[in-house]
């Protein structure tokens, strides 16, 4: 059992998020008995293509939607029974800015002073200045990047112990995305802070995530520490003849083109022993996601 699997069972350490056997049924889509955990002090990338179930999972975690089964614990508390207590200590950031267009920083700060007991106005204005956000401009006139930054500024100004981000960096330019990733690194320098970040931009998660969970068609395909996943997975580029020698159980899926076959394997060491001819190349999260999504087809082009 890996450390992260221990974390799911709650055995290894206290988790920021524990999702066990979560089920949610819609017409034509089912979130099927999913389980994962985000250990405290870490950032988990929640990866999947559009419609895979990322937002549904996040809505279930935030108690926005009714679930059909399963348990969710946030910061050691039940997400429904201790809802208000939990929400005092977490912050959610969405891909679209939820604040009223007519608000300026001042109105936002006054509103949040009442909402969060631990709201730090001084810290909020410090973040505003650091992000280069104008204090006297209406939020409606902010650019997409500025709107994302003000969401993050508010999320970080009430001492949230857990940030839940749903496609928060989607649609932002690389410069702003990097700035935001730097802020997250800083935020995680406090060991008690954690982040769950859903995204389909895997390059961001390559840079920052400690662990990743792949979801597709409502099912968890893979969950674990990023370094372990990258270490154990590898890509083999081989000819059709070499590929024909491989057993289907030994690889995740294979991408065929006119010249060669790219094969994704999930147990680098075992494959190396069995297929000595194979040249194992390093891979990245994007490739892994792509090959896992096509796992059922096994061979695709």
């Amino acid at each position: 059992m890996s450390d992260l699997e221990n974390a799911v069972s709650g055995a290894a350490c206290e988790n920021a998020i524990e999702v066990k056997n979560l089920t949610k049924k819609y017409d034509g889509f089912t979130l099927d008995d999913i389980s994962f955990a985000v250990p405290r002090g870490s950032i988990m990338g929640f990866i999947g293509q559009n419609g895979a179930g990322k937002s549904t999972t996040i809505k279930a975690i935030l108690n926005i939607i009714k679930t059909d089964g399963g348990q969710i614990r946030l910061l050691g508390m039940d997400h429904i029974k201790d809802e208000l207590k939990v929400k005092e200590q977490i912050a959610a950031v969405f891909d679209e800015c939820p604040f009223h267009d007519s608000f300026k920083a001042k109105q936002l700060s006054i509103m949040f002073q009442g909402i969060y007991e631990t709201w730090d106005e001084k810290l909020f204005y410090q973040y505003m200045d650091r992000f280069g956000l104008p204090r006297n401009k209406k939020i409606g006139k902010f650019s997409k990047g500025m709107k994302m930054k003000i969401q993050i500024a508010t999320a970080l100004s009430h001492g949230a112990k857990l940030l839940i981000m749903d496609e928060a960096t989607t649609g932002l330019d690389p410069v702003v995305r990097n700035e935001i990733l730097d802020i997250f690194r800083e935020y995680l320098s406090d060991d008690t802070n954690s982040i769950l970040m859903s995204s389909h931009i895997t390059s961001d998660l390559d840079k920052i995530a400690d662990s990743v969970t792949f979801i597709d068609k409502g099912k968890i395909l893979l969950t674990g520490y990023k370094d372990d996943i990258l270490e154990s997975h590898a890509m083999i580029r081989c000819s059709q003849a070499d590929f024909d020698k491989m057993e289907k159980a030994d690889f995740v899926s294979a991408r065929k083109n006119d010249f060669c076959v790219d094969v994704m394997v999930s147990d680098r060491a075992a494959v190396k022993r069995k297929y000595t001819w194979a040249d194992l190349e390093k891979t990245n999260l994007e490739e892994i996601m792509l090959f896992y999504v096509n796992k059922e087809k096994k061979e695709w082009s």
Binding site: I64, K66, P98, Q107, M111, F112, G114, I115, E117
Partner: protein, 247 residues
């Protein structure tokens, strides 16, 4: 329930409906000033020069309009707070508000406090106007008028509360407006039917302002009862709708 939280949420509501409050507030005051000027003119100015045979009918019309329009302006001021409810239809805010540590009871209570505060302001404002118009016209109908004001205000407060529920229920200002328009039409048909059954009230040229006031005022107990029931039911329903989770 924390007072600081309520205060900050009240601030949010007032800020969001500030334009509507200001516009309707200014409109109410302007209509009142115009009403007073018209009444003064009818008593001492050019309107007093109308030939005797038309004078009584014209004065009745002037008094009626100058008495009722300011009340409606005050009603518009009070229910302009419903403006802030349209922000509850915003998809992004609807999602976000469920991630903040505010209970449904606190959230809805703030909206009710403001609605009642605005009504509390509209009643003395309308009563003051009626007292002034009594003074100018040399009549003594303020007591009756206050009952009339209460009937109209309570009636519209019931509407605004039902409107709020429709907004939460449908999650759309447009759909809520259609629903309230249908409800208004139906209730107006029944309302006029009730008024016309009143034998003392003769609609037409002989209709007297006093009769109309008296007829309106006679509905005060019923309207108060409906208002109280509506308030209690709509408050708890609003809290339930607010706390409702998506399916």
């Amino acid at each position: 329930m924390k007072m600081r939280r309520l205060g900050c949420l009240l601030y949010r509501e007032l800020y969001l409906s500030r334009k509507s409050l200001l516009t309707n507030g200014v409109m109410a005051l302007s209509i009142m000033i115009l009403g007073i000027l018209v009444l003064l003119s009818a008593k001492h100015g050019n309107l007093a020069l109308i030939p005797e045979e038309y004078k009584e009918a014209v004065e009745e019309i002037i008094f009626m309009f100058s008495a009722f329009l300011p009340i409606y302006a005050c009603v518009a001021f009070a229910i302009s707070l419903v403006e802030s409810w349209q922000f509850e239809c915003d998809r992004k805010w609807k999602l976000f508000r469920k991630t903040i540590p505010v209970s449904g009871c606190e959230y809805i209570l703030v909206k009710y406090i403001l609605l009642f505060a605005a009504m509390g302001l509209a009643i003395p404002l309308s009563a003051l106007y009626m007292w002034c118009s009594d003074l100018i016209a040399g009549t003594n109908e303020t007591g009756m008028s206050i009952q009339c004001i209460l009937v109209i205000l309570l009636f519209f407060m019931c509407y605004s509360q039902v409107f709020q529920i429709f907004i939460l229920l449908f999650g759309s200002m447009d759909r809520a407006a259609i629903a309230i328009a249908i409800l208004s039409t139906v209730s107006m048909i029944f309302g006029f039917d009730l008024l016309l059954r009143d034998d003392k009230l003769l609609l037409g040229a002989d209709m007297m302002l006093n009769d109309l006031f008296a007829s309106f005022a006679s509905f005060l107990p019923q309207v108060t009862a409906v208002f109280l029931v509506t308030t209690v039911v709509s408050f708890f329903l609003s809290v339930k709708l607010y706390e409702r989770r998506e399916k």
